[in-house]
Symmetry: C2
Subunit: 225 residues, 2 copies
């Protein structure tokens, strides 16, 4: 399973797991007029929230239907700013270097099954940030203390081929909907520092998934070196 971007481009928007709530730490890194790029914006929940606060937001995703939902909800929300939603692949962003002050990435890397692609995406996020700009990254952590996740990490390994990854099945067809990766702290830290960032802020958190499971999470602010 080298890339699953095609499955994410086809998945029905209503089946895309809802994004996490934004952590308040982000407030400390934004400012009036701040240009924010939301990578893997899905149906635009975070993008629209940030636009409603007056920031200049661009949301990118690979899923056309999700982007359509994002646009229609931004129109109905009376955003102070209307976000720009663009369909693109996060591995090759159509933006010049240093075009943004802040990049956000929420529960997005978890959907990238190739380690190489994860590194490319972080390097792209770094490239489009101004020097000294910040990456806000919130994602799932490996949750070995949970019997449910522990067994999934082990049982799904023949399919995922990567420790800490799980398979999510379509509820109707029972077919594989997507693979999600949960990170170790070491893995996430080196993904950032090996690809252009310093760790500026790091918080171990706990998230609740769409199915109600409690799962470890990380909220990280990386500063472009």
């Amino acid at each position: 399973m080298k890339s699953q971007s095609s499955s994410w481009s086809r998945i029905q928007a209503k089946n895309i797991p809802t994004t996490l709530e934004l952590d308040l730490i982000l407030n400390e890194y934004t400012f009036p007029g701040c240009k924010i790029l939301d990578i893997g914006c899905g149906s635009g929940k975070a993008s629209n929230l940030l636009a409603s606060l007056g920031f200049s937001v661009t949301g990118v995703d690979i899923n056309t239907e999700a982007l359509r939902m994002a646009k229609s909800s931004s129109e109905s929300q009376n955003c102070l700013q209307i976000p720009l939603f663009i369909r693109t692949d996060a591995r090759a962003l159509p933006f010049p270097d240093a075009a943004f002050n802040v990049v956000i990435m929420q529960a997005f890397l978890t959907t990238i099954v190739s380690k190489d692609d994860r590194a490319r995406i972080i390097r792209e996020a770094c490239r489009v940030l101004e020097p000294g700009g910040y990456l806000y990254l919130a994602d799932f952590g490996q949750t070995w203390h949970s019997k449910v996740y522990r067994e999934r990490y082990i049982n799904d390994l023949p399919v995922t081929k990567e420790e800490g990854s799980i398979v999510a099945y379509d509820e109707g067809t029972e077919e594989i909907a997507y693979v999600a990766h949960h990170f170790t702290e070491k893995e996430l830290v080196f993904l950032l520092i090996d690809n252009g960032f310093e760790i500026e802020f790091f918080k171990r958190d706990e998230f609740v998934t769409r199915t109600g499971n409690r799962v470890n999470g990380f909220v990280v602010m990386g500063e472009k070196r």
Copy 2:
């Protein structure tokens, strides 16, 4: 470095890192008359606190001077119960099976450099617990987001031979005082479930070390299967 129990038996009691504060979760697993074993009790801070609450406490350690301090502070503290302090090796406890209701182990496994010894110690803790009894375990987690720890894990590897371990030096002589291991969640979880316990409670925490560094920590309640 197969065992460092000899260095811990000789280290000056004043140089033994102070124990962590007990997490309040322990209250939920203790009861009047509860028999508690404190493994690696050091100078008796937790043992004496628990005895002052009326529990029947036994503290064990390998360091004679620390045990002497533990005894003398219990005498000066007017404990409701006087703890019993015994010098022994945690790998072979001089107690019958099922002798205790609760075992506590605070920042103790971190000092055990051999993986085999860690497993033996957990099996011994399990053996001396009554069926359904609880192990309270608080210990350090690998803290990769911290530049200080990240560099120590990498730089100290030739000495420690184990990822996530660090060398602590004697401030006076600059000689190696001891090696401390920081755990991953996966490592700590399997150490318990492979050696007789279910995970009953699991909390990711942050501790402050004697030198003021912030470090990841875990507080775990294991239930004897």
